[in-house]
Symmetry: C2
Subunit: 314 residues, 2 copies
């Protein structure tokens, strides 16, 4: 993927997305001993950065493809992203969701006019659900991260952060959480092309520590166990995202759920904004490894704000 791919993606999606603000907070800076700039994708359309990748993929479909609609399987933000993108281009969306997904998420997807197909909460059942949709409708599948169009879309968040942060000093670091690696790949590519010298680091929950293993071994690995509040980060990498991450990411650090919850609470209390547990992971890394970031300028992508207020961790 070239710089031009990301620039084109940004031009393509610009009128469909919010240019989300970059916030700073003196209290958190003082606690971290660093200069933190938060890119607020919790304020993005559908409440998460995934609107970017979904739009960049859907907007590149040919008219005959759009006619048959789009499909994906997701229990979370990617479902809403594809439903939203499809609505914007007047296409049908068929979203396969595990029947155990929160009602509020199913309602949100239906709210964008998509058809929700419920399935058992296993990867097999989800993939079979999508296969059935495709057989029935001819819809095009949009993968949540194993797709260059999606990665280029996610890359635009870091691009905007680099453009909009205050001060002339370049970033020392950009930080993103890692699940399937779509956002992390895009962030790393944007840093590579638009801010050479800025290193990229990922945060991962201890209870979904597959990316750090894959990063070390060079193969897509599974997590030793899955048990974390950061439910947006459970997926493993793909060959595609792993290759980009190995080339352009400096390191991956893991944090525990108590560290994630403490960082999330700090952002809620001090910045007065609502973020998902997943996007507190990078701040938890900064607070755990203060030596790495002391006095440095750090960009953090806050990935989304879709939380179930009825089930809060504090």
């Amino acid at each position: 993927m070239t710089a031009e791919t990301i620039l084109s993606a940004h031009d393509r999606i610009r009128s469909y997305i919010h240019r989300t603000p970059v916030l700073t907070n003196r209290t958190i800076d003082a606690l971290a001993g660093a200069e933190l700039h938060f890119k607020c994708e919790n304020f993005q359309k559908i409440g998460a950065f995934k609107a970017r990748g979904g739009l960049n993929a859907v907007l590149q479909l040919a008219p005959h493809e759009l006619k048959s609609g789009v499909t994906t399987h997701s229990s979370g933000n990617h479902a809403q992203a594809i439903a939203y993108a499809a609505r914007e281009v007047g296409a049908k969306a068929y979203i396969v969701m595990p029947r155990t997904a929160p009602q509020v998420k199913k309602d949100a997807v239906r709210g964008y006019g998509a058809e929700v197909i419920e399935c058992e909460p296993t990867l097999d059942a989800r993939e079979q659900g999508v296969a059935e949709v495709i057989a029935r409708t001819g819809a095009t599948m949009i993968h949540p991260f194993d797709d260059d169009r999606v990665i280029a879309g996610q890359a635009t968040a870091a691009k905007e952060l680099l453009e909009d942060a205050t001060g002339n000093r370049p970033f020392n670091w950009l930080l993103a959480p890692v699940g399937g690696g779509g956002l992390l790949s895009g962030t790393a590519l944007s840093a590579h092309y638009f801010a050479p010298g800025t290193r990229v680091l990922a945060g991962e929950p201890e209870g979904a520590a597959d990316a750090i293993l894959s990063f070390q071994s060079g193969r897509v690995e599974s997590a030793p166990y899955i048990n974390t509040i950061a439910d947006g980060l459970l997926t493993t990498l793909s060959e595609r995202t792993l290759a980009i991450i190995q080339q352009h990411v400096t390191d991956i650090k893991t944090v525990s759920d108590p560290e994630i919850i403490a960082a999330m609470r700090l952002i809620w209390e001090r910045m007065k904004i609502i973020i998902e547990p997943s996007c507190a992971v990078p701040l938890a890394v900064v607070l755990k490894h203060k030596d790495l970031f002391a006095g440095q300028k750090v960009g953090i992508i806050l990935t989304g704000g879709n939380v179930d207020l009825g089930k809060l961790a504090f």
Copy 2:
């Protein structure tokens, strides 16, 4: 109070405060059937609009007054506002707080370098505490709302909202919650001077319904009973705020706690920002009286974001 008083207040405090953003939200507009512009004082210094009034009062004290420090009694945002303002001018602050106030609030006040004096949780004990501080130190008392300097400071929030909201169409309404009436008085004066033709309406909890009675009778009345989640709005008006409110406010509407909680949840979920229950009151009024606001442009002052995340209503 003249327009010039508010303009001067704004010039005086401008470099000490954030020019907080004005946010809009399509989903909430669709639910309300109106065009809502939210002035986000939850992002203000100390997490609430009260920084404005506190600063405007403290910044007008003479050097010999500042030398003896400032004092007030408050269990909430005014305590932090005075502590913050005093720190900014290098004065001592003595804050009398009920011993039952949340530890996090006492810590926040101490965090601004103020001395916290704990007292029994009654108005008598609070006033006696302040009297003792004054006898001991000669500090100047800054009342949370019964003070023209404080009212002029609070008025600057509405002034900014009028200046910053998108679109050329004038506001039909400005809405604020009412407790002691400092913010409401200031809002009404800003509308009167800077947006003639824009009406002002207040929201009040049913469980602290003193202002509506006072508005009707023309005398400062007490609430029939106190029982509401909107703990920033328990105070009665003063003669000063009642006079301004009677002259410049069109109406006061009450809402129940379930209505307040629903409006608060809507703002958290859809706007991804953290607001106090008190500042959900005006949106609750809009959703309850849709006929009043149908198709109109409405400005709502979101007063603050200082909530105890350990004790949420949902």
